[in-house]
């Protein structure tokens, strides 16, 4: 059963009509190919129009679409081999972060990502994709391992934020994220970070320091979620649409402001409609980015990575 967002409904209604028409024609053996063609093109037009004019809040909704592929869905489709590696070697394994050694088209990579769950039980198990400190520490452990074996790193970001819990504070949520920021700056191997869904604040940034930081077309990335921003600035959740507009949190906004390096286009209608197609696009991009980054020396990569982040910000002097 597909979940439909409000703005997807008119398209889905037409699609249902088209199916009915085809079935009717088949049952009664009449030729309706003209009508089918017309309706199909009307659907395409509507879809293009709808998706060209998405508001920022609608993009946020798409990024959280319950049918959207998550990290392990991509890993399954992109990697010919994947050996998941667990644990931070200090406290425990954090199921909100997955990672391991993989092969993509014959290239060895370390893939690490935040993982959401799809059904209620799994959602709880994955803590809704909100990592604890040990998640960030596991990620760093795997990145250091990748560096040791000279293997490029790919991180997939999809989190509503680092978990704001009691134990997370006891175990140093702030320190865990901070350490990753600093250590990722000086990793000798190529690092590619891709925001595949939600990129909420420090919880996302803690795994998103890379030579190439890319965003899927319908993902968002900012310092706070629109809901929380609305709560703080307007003292109610009601202004989330306005907050989303003000935060300029879409892939286009972030690229135009020079805060991410590029956008990865999704299949028409969004990644949730075509997982295989989306995975293929992602795979090709990862392979080509790795090939490009490997032309640089480790020192060149580190300096330009540091320079890139150091140039971000707007001040008046």
């Amino acid at each position: 059963m597909r979940t439909l967002l409000e703005f997807e409904k008119p398209i889905a209604e037409l699609e249902a009509k088209l199916e009915d028409m085809k079935k009717l024609a088949l049952d009664n053996n009449v030729d309706v190919s003209d009508a089918v063609r017309n309706l199909s093109s009307a659907i395409d037009t509507l879809r293009v129009e709808t998706f060209q004019n998405l508001t920022r809040w609608q993009r946020v909704q798409l990024s959280r679409h319950p049918d959207r592929p998550y990290t392990l869905d991509y890993i399954e489709r992109i990697c010919s081999e994947f050996h998941e590696l667990h644990g931070d070697r200090t406290v425990r394994d954090d199921p909100a972060v997955v990672g391991g050694l993989a092969q993509i088209e014959g290239v060895s990579v370390m893939v690490i990502g935040q993982q959401k769950g799809r059904k209620t039980k799994e959602r709880q198990h994955r803590n809704f994709g909100m990592p604890n400190p040990e998640g960030y520490r596991k990620a760093l452990r795997l990145m250091k391992m990748a560096e040791k074996f000279n293997i490029p790193i790919v991180t997939l970001i999809d989190t509503p934020g680092a978990f704001p819990g009691l134990e997370a504070e006891e175990r140093g949520q702030g320190e865990a994220i901070a350490r990753n920021l600093k250590e990722m700056m000086i990793l000798k191997v190529p690092v590619i970070c891709i925001i595949i869904g939600e990129g909420a604040s420090g919880g996302a940034l803690g795994m998103a320091i890379g030579d190439r930081v890319l965003m899927l077309e319908n993902s968002w990335y900012s310092v706070i979620s629109p809901e929380n921003c609305s709560t703080i600035l307007w003292r109610t959740w009601e202004f989330k649409e306005q907050a989303a507009e003000a935060l300029k949190l879409t892939a286009i906004d972030m690229r135009d402001n020079g805060l991410v390096d590029g956008i990865i286009a999704e299949p028409q209608g969004g990644a949730h409609l075509k997982w295989d197609e989306m995975s293929e696009i992602l795979k090709k991009r990862i392979i080509s980015e790795i090939a490009n980054l490997e032309k640089m020396s480790p020192q060149e990569r580190i300096s330009s990575r540091i320079d890139k982040f150091c140039s971000m910000g707007v001040v008046v002097e």
Binding site: E169, I177, W234, V315
Partner: protein, 280 residues
Amino acid sequence: MSWFKRTEKGINTPTELKRETPDGLWYKCPECKNVMHTREHKQNAYTCIHCNYHDKIGSEAYFSLLFDEGDFTELDKDMISGDPLKFVDTKAYPDRIKSTVEKSGLKDACRTAYGKMNGQDITISCMDFGFIGGSMGSVVGEKIARGIDHAIKTKTPFLMISKSGGARMMEAGFSLMQMAKTSAKLALLEEAKLPYISLLTDPTTGGVTASYAMLGDFNIAEPGSLIGFAGPRIIKETIGKDLPKGFQTAEFVLEHGFLDFIVDRKDLKDKLASLLAILK
């Protein structure tokens, strides 16, 4: 008779009535309610002479406490905030900046200066909570970054005094990236093998905790400071339980292994100077 008693604990003063250092002749400690002479309070490094409560102070007070004879050179004095996102909430961001500048007499939530501390050269960046809750936007990030650059260039230790509610929402993505920028600079400071002392004061939370504040060679704090990643209210809402007493205080953070020590503000200068002298 319970309606005569105070039922709500804590400070209930609206933000606009709060101030960092009191005017007038007498200072009343908000913690123990005892009164002392303002001069006495100031001489005591703005801590209560009765209960040692550390009053919130800003860059001006820290600079005069730490630099010898209060003598320092400020860097990037005139840097002010841009409005890259044309951010409007209940107020346009440039208007908010303008009124805060007028009210606080500060240009933004951070100042950087260099000078001598007990005869040793040092570069200090210090946050001001009085400027939009000490929030970190592009100016804060850039000033810290350049402060670290200055420390590297002059081969001096770097001291960061944090006091912040976290990242500044009105610069959204730009604010977030200041966490990355400052961490990048700290990686360079480390490469130069220069000491970095991070002093966390009341309060230090959010993106500041999750970047430069927690990255010191020495993470130290003033007694009783609120230190955490998520704010206590958010944690309480998330877990649906009351938080234990003393949760997220400097003492709690020390106990859990994220601070090297807690330092009384009256001892701060001498303690830091002798620590740095050992590293020389």
